[in-house]
Symmetry: C2
C-alpha cells in the first residue's frame, strides 16, 4: 500500500483517523511541508511527490508551493475533509482490510474512489455516441468466461484488485441503457441527479417500513405521493398510496384493494366467501392485470379482455385537437361499448363484475383508453376503476399532453411509474388510491415486533403494514431529488421533448419508402410502431409468403444491431400482426440525430433482407 495523508480536518481532529505509512520517511517530511501549504492542494501534490524520487525536484516544487500558501487565506474547513486519491496496491488488499477493520478507513476510501472512477468513466462514455450501446456476447460465451472475467463463485476471497476488474468487466459486457441510442425499453436514459440519489440511497441502506429507521424517506414518500395525487386531480391530494417494486405489483395492489373494498370478508375467508368475481381490461393492456388475476385467486379466465378497435382512428384523427377533449377514441382503446356488453353478459351468467382497468398509455401502441367513457360505465355498474398509467402517467406533468388522461381523477386507483416516462432510475413505481386508509385495511397484519403502538412518535407514519412486502426498498429518494432539482417544469420539458421527438420520427417515416405504419394516425404517446420493408420485398403481393418473410425482418435487423452494438430498439408481434418495430422515446439524451441514426441503421442493416 502506498501513502496516506491525514484525512480529518485540522479543526476537527478525528481520533479514529489512521495513518498506514510507517512514520519518519523522507516522503513524510516532504509531505508535511506540502500539507503546510493550502491543505487541499497539499494533499494533491502529496500524491505526486510520493511517486518521484528526486529530492531536488521535490524541494523546488514544495518551496514554490509554500511561498504560494502564505498568500492564500485559510481554506474553508469543510473543504479540508475532501478526499484525494493515492496510489494503492489493491492486489494485496481484501474485503477484510476495509472498514470496519482496524486501519480500514484509508483503504476503504481509496477503494470507493477507485470504484467511483470506474463508474464516472462509464457515465462519461455512456453519453458519448462513439461508444457502443453494447458489446454483445451469447450466454455460453460469458459463462465459459471472458479473459480475466469469471462469473463462478468460490470459497476463497479475491483481492480488491480483482474485484475492481470484475466491476469494470461487469459494465463492459452489459448494456448501456443510458446511451442516447438505446431505445429498447420504456425505461431508458441515465439521469445524473437520479443516479446521485441512488448512490445516496444505497449508502443510507435502510428500509421503508417504519419512521423509526427511515424518518426522512418516509416523509418524502408521503409528500411526493400527495403531490402525485394532486396532479391526478383528487381533492387536496387526499388519498392513499405507496411505492412498490414495479408496475406489475402496483397493478396487483389495485386488484387487491378493489376486492377488499367490495368484499372485505375475502381477506379473512378467502375467495370462496365471495361470488365469482370478474375483472375487465383491454386486450392491449399490460399482462400484469391478468397475472394479478391468476396470482390473487380470481383465475386468468375471470380476467375478461375487451376488444380494441383500431378503426376508430379513421374518424378521429388528432382527437386532442378536436373539441372532444377527454374522449380519446384511438387505436388500441378499450372499447367502452364492448365493456358494457361484457359486463351485462357477465352478470347474466351470474358472475360479479368487480374491476375495470383502463390503460393510460399501452405498452406497445402507447394508446390511451377513453377514461371518462369507461368511468361512466363503472359508475353505472358500481365497479372499481383503475387506471394503469405506468407508462403514460408521466404525461400528467405536461400541460400540453395531460388531457390524454382526462377522467383519471374519476379513477379509484392509479398506477404511475416515474421510472418510465419521467426518467427516474429503476425502480420507482407508485400505486395511488383515492380512498384513504384502504391499503392498510386491505393488507395490515399488525405484527407486534415491527409496529409497536407505544413508540414515542406518531406511529401513523409507520407505513409497513399497508404493503404486501415487509421490508421495502427506498425508491423515493432519487425521485424526490430529481423533482427538487428539475421542478415540475423540468419533468414537463422532458416529456414534451420526448413527444416532439416521436412526432419527428413519425413524420419522417410515415410516407417514406420502405415503411408501413402499424396503426394509422399520429401516436398519442412516444410509441411509433412500424414495419421496415427491405427493398427486395417491396413488390411482393400481400399474402402468407410476404407475412412470413416480413415476420423475420425485425428480428434479423435487431440481431445485427445488437451484434454491432450500434443501437437497440424493440420489436414484437401483436394479435395477427407480424413482428414490427416499436420505437419508444423516454431517454433525455436522445436527439433528432439519434432518430436519424436509427432509421439509417435499420436501412443499412436491412438492405439485403
Amino acid at each position: 500500500m502506498a501513502a496516506s495523508a491525514p484525512s480529518s480536518s485540522a479543526g476537527d481532529p478525528d481520533p479514529n483517523s489512521t495513518n498506514l505509512r510507517p512514520p519518519s520517511t523522507t516522503y513524510d517530511a516532504w509531505c508535511g511541508v506540502a500539507h503546510g501549504c493550502t491543505r487541499k492542494l497539499g494533499m494533491k501534490i502529496c500524491g505526486f511527490l510520493q511517486k518521484n524520487n528526486s529530492l531536488e525536484e521535490k524541494s523546488r516544487i514544495v518551496s514554490a508551493l509554500k511561498e504560494q500558501s502564505s498568500k492564500n487565506e485559510l481554506e474553508n474547513s469543510e473543504r479540508d475533509a475532501r478526499f484525494r486519491r493515492t496510489e494503492v496496491d489493491f492486489s494485496n488488499l481484501f474485503a477484510r482490510d476495509l472498514l470496519p477493520a482496524k486501519n480500514g478507513e484509508e483503504p476503504t476510501m481509496q477503494f470507493l474512489l477507485e470504484v467511483v472512477e470506474i463508474l464516472t468513466n462509464y457515465v462519461r462514455k455512456t453519453f458519448d455516441r462513439s461508444t457502443k450501446v453494447l458489446d454483445f456476447h451469447h450466454p455460453h460465451q460469458l459463462l465459459e468466461g471472458m479473459e480475466g472475467f469469471n462469473l463462478e463463485l468460490s470459497d476463497q476471497p479475491e483481492s480488491l484488485e480483482q474485484i475492481l476488474v470484475d466491476c469494470r468487466d461487469t459494465l463492459k459486457y452489459g448494456v448501456r441503457t443510458g446511451h442516447p441510442r438505446f431505445f429498447n425499453q420504456l425505461s431508458t436514459g441515465l439521469d445524473i441527479i437520479g443516479l446521485a440519489g441512488e448512490w445516496l440511497t444505497s449508502t443510507a441502506n435502510t428500509n421503508m417500513f417504519t419512521y423509526e429507521i427511515a424518518p426522512v424517506f418516509v416523509l418524502m414518500e408521503q409528500l411526493t405521493l400527495k403531490k402525485m395525487r394532486e396532479m391526478i386531480g383528487w381533492p387536496n391530494g387526499e388519498g392513499d398510496g405507496i411505492f412498490s417494486p414495479g408496475g406489475a405489483i402496483s397493478n396487483m395492489y389495485s386488484v387487491m384493494v378493489a376486492r377488499y373494498k367490495y368484499f372485505p370478508e375475502i381477506k379473512t375467508k378467502g375467495m370462496s366467501a365471495g361470488p365469482r368475481l370478474v375483472l375487465f381490461t383491454s386486450e392491449h393492456s399490460h399482462y400484469s392485470i391478468t397475472k394479478a388475476g391468476a396470482a390473487l385467486g380470481f383465475g386468468k379466465e375471470n380476467v375478461i379482455l375487451l376488444r380494441t378497435d383500431e378503426s376508430i382512428i379513421q374518424t378521429h384523427e388528432r382527437p386532442h385537437k378536436s373539441e372532444k377533449v377527454g374522449i380519446h377514441t384511438w387505436v388500441s382503446q378499450g372499447n367502452p361499448h364492448d365493456l358494457e356488453a361484457k359486463i351485462i353478459d357477465a352478470k347474466q351468467k351470474g358472475y360479479h363484475p368487480l374491476f375495470v382497468n383502463a390503460t393510460g398509455g399501452t405498452t406497445v401502441y402507447g394508446a390511451f383508453d377513453p377514461i371518462n367513457e369507461i368511468a361512466d360505465i363503472c359508475e353505472k355498474y358500481n365497479l372499481w376503476l383503475h387506471v394503469d398509467g405506468a407508462w403514460g402517467g408521466g404525461l400528467l406533468m405536461s400541460r400540453k399532453h395531460r388531457h390524454k388522461l382526462n377522467g383519471v381523477e374519476r379513477a379509484n386507483s392509479v398506477t404511475w411509474n416515474p421510472h418510465k416516462m419521467m426518467g427516474v432510475p429503476l425502480q420507482c413505481s407508485a400505486i395511488l388510491v383515492r380512498e384513504k386508509g384502504i391499503l392498510a385495511g386491505c393488507n395490515s397484519m399488525c405484527a407486534g415486533y415491527l409496529f409497536q403502538p407505544d413508540k414515542q412518535y406518531d406511529v401513523t407514519y409507520d407505513t409497513g403494514d399497508k404493503a404486501i412486502q415487509c421490508g421495502r426498498h427506498v425508491d423515493i429518494f432519487k425521485f424526490w431529488l430529481m423533482w427538487k432539482a428539475k421542478g415540475t417544469i423540468g419533468f414537463e420539458q422532458h416529456i414534451d421533448k420526448c413527444l416532439e421527438l416521436s412526432e419527428y420520427l413519425y413524420n419522417k417515416i410515415k410516407n417514406r419508402e420502405g415503411y408501413e405504419m402499424v396503426f394509422q394516425g399520429e401516436p398519442q404517446h412516444t410509441n411509433v410502431c412500424f414495419w421496415y420493408i427491405p427493398p427486395g420485398m417491396r413488390g411482393m403481393p400481400e399474402g402468407d409468403e410476404r407475412r412470413e418473410r416480413l415476420h423475420k425482418v425485425a428480428p434479423k435487423i435487431k440481431a445485427m444491431m445488437m451484434e454491432c452494438g450500434s443501437t437497440m430498439v424493440g420489436y414484437q408481434p401483436q394479435g395477427d400482426k407480424v413482428n414490427f418495430f416499436r420505437m419508444v422515446i423516454s431517454n433525455h439524451a436522445a436527439t433528432r440525430s439519434d432518430i436519424d441514426f436509427l432509421i439509417d441503421e435499420i436501412e443499412r442493416l436491412g438492405v439485403d433482407l
Copy 2:
C-alpha cells in the same frame, strides 16, 4: 463554473470531449504546459493553477514540472482518465446543465464527485463510535422544515448547490443503520463491497427481465442461485429460483408455487376451482405467510397457526451438542405433533391441507423449527414443505451452525435473504424451488413484446416471465460481488462471529442482576430476548401491577436511546409476554465493546424507571 481540462486519455482522443472555458486565456496557455507534463499530474496542477493569479508563480512550478515529466515514463493510459476535483460554483448550476447537456461532462463529473465526498464522509463517520446513531426528530419537526432543509416539492428547479445541501441533510436526519451500535433490525451493517456493488448497479440502471438488456446480471443470478441450492443440499444444485423484493414476497411465491403444483387449474379458473385449501405455519412465524394467504385468496383463517412449546427447552438444552442433530426441539418451534393433529382435523372438516411453512430462524426468538420432523409429516400427508430461512438461511454458510437447518434439503422451497444475516445491502432476497421450471409454469403469461421467441440468443435465459413482477430490480450484483470478495469462508466467518457475540451477550446477562431472559437456554440464532428490570422494580411481586409497569420499561428506554442517539435495539410484546428487548446481531462492525455499551446504556437510561 471553474475550469475544465481535457478528460479523455491522450491515446484515445474523444471527439465528444468538451472544454467549458473560452479558448486562449492565459490560464489555458499555462494549463497546456502543465498538460505537457505527465498527464495526470498536469490535470491536478491545472486545478491549482486556475486558482492562482501570479504568473511568476505559475511559471516556476510549471517549468519544474516540465523538467520532471521528461524523466518519467508515459503513464498508463487508463490511469490518465482519472478524475480530479476542481472548485465549482454549484449555486449557478442546475440539473439541466449536467449530461446530456452540451458541455455537461465537466459539471457532471464535479457534481458526482461532490456527492461522493458527502457519501464517503458519511461512511467514514458511520464507523466512528463517536458519531451518533441518529439525530432524532419527530415527524412534525421535519415536516415543518429544518433550517435549510425543506421537503416540499415545487414547480421550479433548485440549484445544484441546494441539491447537495439536501443530500447532506437527508443523511443528517436519517438513521445510520451501519453504525456499530445499530442493532434495531435483522438487516444492519454497511458492507463496503456491497455498497460499491449497489453504486455500480444504479449506474448500470437496467432490468432483470431479459438477457438482452442484463446479460451479465442474469447469468450472475443464475450461478448464484445454483450455488445457494447446492448449499441447501439439492442434488447438483438443480432447481429453480429468483431474487424477489424481500422475504415477504419470497414467501408469497412459495405459496403460489405450492398451489400451482397441486392445483394448476387455479391459475386459470381461480380458487373456486379447488377445494378449501389450508396452510400451516407456527404462531411465531413471520406474518408474511398469513399475509400471503390473505392476498392470494386463501383467506387469513385458512392459515392455521401451530402452537409452539417453549417448555421443550428444559429437557433439550444445547440440542446441537446432543446426538439428535437435526431435531431442534427448542423454544418457538412449530410443534410437529400439533401439526399432525391439525392436519387431521382439517381433513376431517373437509378442507385440503396444502402447505407447511417451517421457520429457519424466527423473527423474535431466532428459533429453528425441527425441519426433519416436519418433513416427515409433509411426506406422510403429501404437503408442500416451505422453509422460511429469510433470517436463518445464512447459517447454511457456516459449518458450525448449518446443522440448525438440517432437513432443509427436504423442503420444496426455501426463502433466504442475504440482506439479513449475511450483511448484503437491502434488498436481496431469494426464493429457491426444488422443482425446475415450476416458477415459469406458475407465473408465465408469455407477453410477446418482452419475450420474443425469435431472438438470436438462447431465450431460456430470459427470466422475466417466471416473476410476478414485470420489471425487476438488479439485486444480484452486490451479493455476487461480496461473495467474490469474501469467498464462502468470509460469509462463514461473519456468521460465526455474530453468533459468538450473541453468546457473549447471553452469558453476560443471563445471571446478571436486573435481567430476566424471555426464554430459557442458549439462543440458537443471534436473537437474545430479555427484560431489563429497573432497580425500583426488583422487589415487586409477580402480578398485573408489575406486568403493566414492566411493559412500559423497554419503550421508555428505547425512546431515550433514540433521543440521545446513542444506540438502537428493538423491543416488542409477544403472546402474553409484555414488552421485552430483542437484541440481534448481524452487523459486522459490532464488537464486544458495543455489546457492553448497550448493556451500560440500558442500565444508565433505565435506572430511575
